[in-house]
Symmetry: C2
Subunit: 310 residues, 2 copies
Amino acid sequence: MSTAETNPAGTTTDGADPRVLFMLDDPTQTGTDASTLASSVRRADPADPQISVLDLAVTRGDGIFETLDAIDGFGQALEPHLARLENSARLLDLPAPCLDLYREGIRQGIAASTHPRLSVKLVLTRGIEGAGRCTGWVFVDPEPDFTEARTHGLKVVTLDRGYRHDVAQTSPWLLQGAKTLSYAVNKSVYREAERRGADDVIFISSDGFVLEGPTSTAVLQFGRHLVTPSTDQGILAGTAQAAFFEYAEANGLTTEYRTVTPDELRAADSVWLASSVRQIVPVVEIDGVARGFDAELHAAALDYLVTRRS
Amino acid sequence: MSTAETNPAGTTTDGADPRVLFMLDDPTQTGTDASTLASSVRRADPADPQISVLDLAVTRGDGIFETLDAIDGFGQALEPHLARLENSARLLDLPAPCLDLYREGIRQGIAASTHPRLSVKLVLTRGIEGAGRCTGWVFVDPEPDFTEARTHGLKVVTLDRGYRHDVAQTSPWLLQGAKTLSYAVNKSVYREAERRGADDVIFISSDGFVLEGPTSTAVLQFGRHLVTPSTDQGILAGTAQAAFFEYAEANGLTTEYRTVTPDELRAADSVWLASSVRQIVPVVEIDGVARGFDAELHAAALDYLVTRRS
């Protein structure tokens, strides 16, 4: 793989579009062999329109997605991401995605890119209303440079998520815990953060528990102990957070999944936002109050995360 | 206009696609003259892909829509729908839609159809991330036949919406009260209703107030008095409900906007779901309990609603 640079216009210095799109024909197909899978993956130009205005992704945000990081051709936490895609499909009563087809699309997508670090997005939509066939694709994009956020950290605001922490149990039709395409709120809260002079958001449940970020998992440090909000609260199981915990446990720290209060968030020695492509970024301000973080642990864990082959 | 029949495959008996799509170039343009507007409306084939996989409508459900009814070329409640589109844009920090361009698209869309009764959908998305230009279109479709639901009514279940009734005031970033493309929950609750043997849903706030249906406004009758939940509860101002109230007031009934409890919903003499294309449908069962409705008022109001030129 070359190390072609990406400029802000989204083209490489040699003028080629660095983005790679593979559409997946019938992405919930079953019982297919290798040749059928290979022929179900169709390269397409991301600059061209590919989706009907009647696709339920467009009209209702009715679909699911995953984003993972690929480094030198290796997709990090590929199987946990595929498992989460499958779980989101189940929560939305979508047919199960053909994981072998997604694996094939990811393989071809990564192979087609000339960049060493990629974000890989997997999408499954309910398709055109009434057509009875889902729409799916794999989109591969050179990863942005997160050096600034990883080094100097992010200012975060806490915002009400509106839901109780137990809403996934009481009201599963609200789809909390699924990674859906209905993410307008997850965009809206970034605009609210910007209005408040911050970079990112941590959601608080309406009954006062720390949940997650719009695109990340919160990890708190208390001495040699790491804590993250438990996933029975309608939040996603973080793949980067899981890898962070693996690193921590291998290095003598203890880890825990439980409910967390905003007071604990403010009192923690360190707070990180963990996500697949950004990996971990330290939080240096919460709701206008500056705070520190364990720079030594951060640097070591980040080094592990960005280079991991798992 | 002809009265060509539509068969289940979505084609007319003469084989032509009865659906009409007009894409709007730069749908938030300002200060344009009539010829610019006319040239910004481009007919497209709804069977062809028109939308990029990078459009924020697809990736985040980040956009807004409206659906109105057109009868013999007349768009019912056109200006209230455009006002609501403009309000949704404001709630999502989208640029203001060019309403003259949408009016032109609606005019051309209705004129291009051969059907006497149409549903007309207006969409505005945030466009491709980073491109700085919104995507917009007008989609016109022959209206389904609602005779069965209008005559015999619907079975409804009440479902928790998860949010408090005051969430639009306390947490505007949750976008309650905007008609967004992030409607996966509004689809999910229909599947939950079906599992419970029902046809439709009325949302209840987490603190126990009647809100609205996923695609409709609830109207309750107590004698000669009609009540609907007030729109300061993060719900949409219903255009069909407003027309129903106009009819009621012109015929000696009184009307009121206020908070409504589930007990009142169950105790009402009639309950209707009001929406733009279906108009009003009576509720004949709530959470498994059969209930009646004022058939005389229903028939008269429905006749007014389906033929109104306002």
